[in-house]
Symmetry: C2
Amino acid sequence: MKNILKGAALLIGAACVGNVQGQRGPQIESPVVHPDRKVTFTLRAPGATSVELSAQFLRDNQALHAGSNGVWTVTVGPIEADLYPYNFVVDGVAVSDPSNMHLFPNERFKASLVDVPGEKPSLHAVQDVPRGEVSYCTYNSKTVGGIRPVLVYTPPGYREGNQRYPVFYLVSGTTDTEETWFKVGRANVIIDNLISQKRAVPMIVVMPYGNMMRGTPNPATPQAAEMYKAFADELVGSVMPFVESRYRAIAEREKRAIAGFSRGGGQSLFTGFTHIDKFAWIGSYSAYLTPEVFQKHFGEFAGKPESLNQQLKLLWLGVGKEDFLYRQAVAFDEFLNEKKITHQSLVTGGGHTWMNARHYLIETLQLYFK
Amino acid sequence: MKNILKGAALLIGAACVGNVQGQRGPQIESPVVHPDRKVTFTLRAPGATSVELSAQFLRDNQALHAGSNGVWTVTVGPIEADLYPYNFVVDGVAVSDPSNMHLFPNERFKASLVDVPGEKPSLHAVQDVPRGEVSYCTYNSKTVGGIRPVLVYTPPGYREGNQRYPVFYLVSGTTDTEETWFKVGRANVIIDNLISQKRAVPMIVVMPYGNMMRGTPNPATPQAAEMYKAFADELVGSVMPFVESRYRAIAEREKRAIAGFSRGGGQSLFTGFTHIDKFAWIGSYSAYLTPEVFQKHFGEFAGKPESLNQQLKLLWLGVGKEDFLYRQAVAFDEFLNEKKITHQSLVTGGGHTWMNARHYLIETLQLYFK
């Protein structure tokens, strides 16, 4: 590898952003996943006094050890097979791994992704099956205003054919961007794999930007409903018309699903219940509505569940036992039981993580539009 | 803004990657571009002993100053209007700006982007004009092997119509990824704007991953040609068949262009000259071939320039006077003059930067396919 690195270093030396003395030294490979599912993380940081690893497979941060040449390293695990976010903490500052191209798109923090493969190929790993595309688009927002981003997945064969498809609106969480379900959730890879295994039907997946530029109120407060309503207006008033005019979408309620993670779950529940004439499939991944919000905005369903139960093909709730929203999610579940609103629930281990978000996505993709 | 931040912080506290004591404090806004084109950069780093700003608009790194609460800040400028890469250096480690969503995709470093607008709207800024899409695809590589990524821009109206389009293959540089021309070069935004101003013809733009997994030899060495040849084989043998089967491409040499920045420029020159039957438009942005490589691989053109001159609609070279490759690029230009090979040259200020790469893209987009 020596000659390769020398050439690369030569060009990087001049093409890089500014100058960091000694920064473009030997190329670091990080993370390295070993066959026993241990993982070695490495960072070149000759001037740092403390480097830690923070990761969703760790309870507590783990110290990296400084070796010669200012290269810090730690090996952890074995780790349960999954795709995990992690970051380094350099003298107290959370940073992504410079050697890792797989980034966590987010408004407020920088993190990287490490894929620890299991014995069987994972659904989030690219396999040699027919593959869809993810398109970066923009649309003109009538509600929030301005030009806003949206990602649209089209299934394998979309460009070659004339078929119309059901549409799944998939919303990410607080501080996430429209890219997070794509890059961290790997929604496109998962559905490519599930379609090839005939476990999901081919569909269009729309990933909007969930930030309504009004901030994110605590989901336990009535203010959360205002933000949810802004999202519902945006989705129905601007995103859906864009999608249904540009893509071969089936514009029928039984061919539309909406679900999301965290804030996106609250937005999906609110949007679905508000526009029950437009959505027949609703999913909440690690989220909930408060009984108060439900009563205030959807009181008619609480009083007369029959029409809701007849119209909804699926109302699905998933949450992890260690989720900081677990108690509220269970309370919402019990509220729906009490009101005799038909739904399915899944309680898993784990917390408010993208590993769980992906798990719930995989579960529900096998239900939607069937 | 207070209540917004509190809610966001609440969710982030649990949803974030691991725990960084005090890290999720008050939300930082960085960078802030002022009306006088000064820019303030801010980083929360209470445990750091040194924070610097490294940026392509600075000759030397600039120190940030620690204020209360461990928040470091510096204001620089006025800066000439453009879109610039920058990063922080925290105790010697180059990191992207945690508060900035606009990232520089790269294999080996993490940087962020700051857009300093001028008096007129810049071509790289999203404007309210018809907009194309950028699709993330994969294809099966017969040459390098495996499943490889490629980004494909389709122009406004592509999905609604049946028109076929010329195709421009656009290659990024060493350590860049297939995303770099999209996210840093803003190629899609630039061409949307140029099309709307009738300064460029609607076209498909294909952005492949230029890393041939064989490293990047110094472009002055004969080994560089082997890497260029691997790229040419990959592009013609795997990328082009994928693009021309999935997209409404015009499969004629006069409707194919190829250009690239840095390593991608060398790859484009080599691929274009090797497959003169397939490409009529060739661009080199901050790159060159050595006379030795040209003589060895394309000696017939050096001896008989007429056929090359007749077939090529454009051979275009651009380089900045401060580019570390300037001398070699000028030598290549002089070699072409000596061999009477028709070409156009543009020498600008500036160095081996994405500001220049974007400049050369804008120049040549107004020439291709006309």
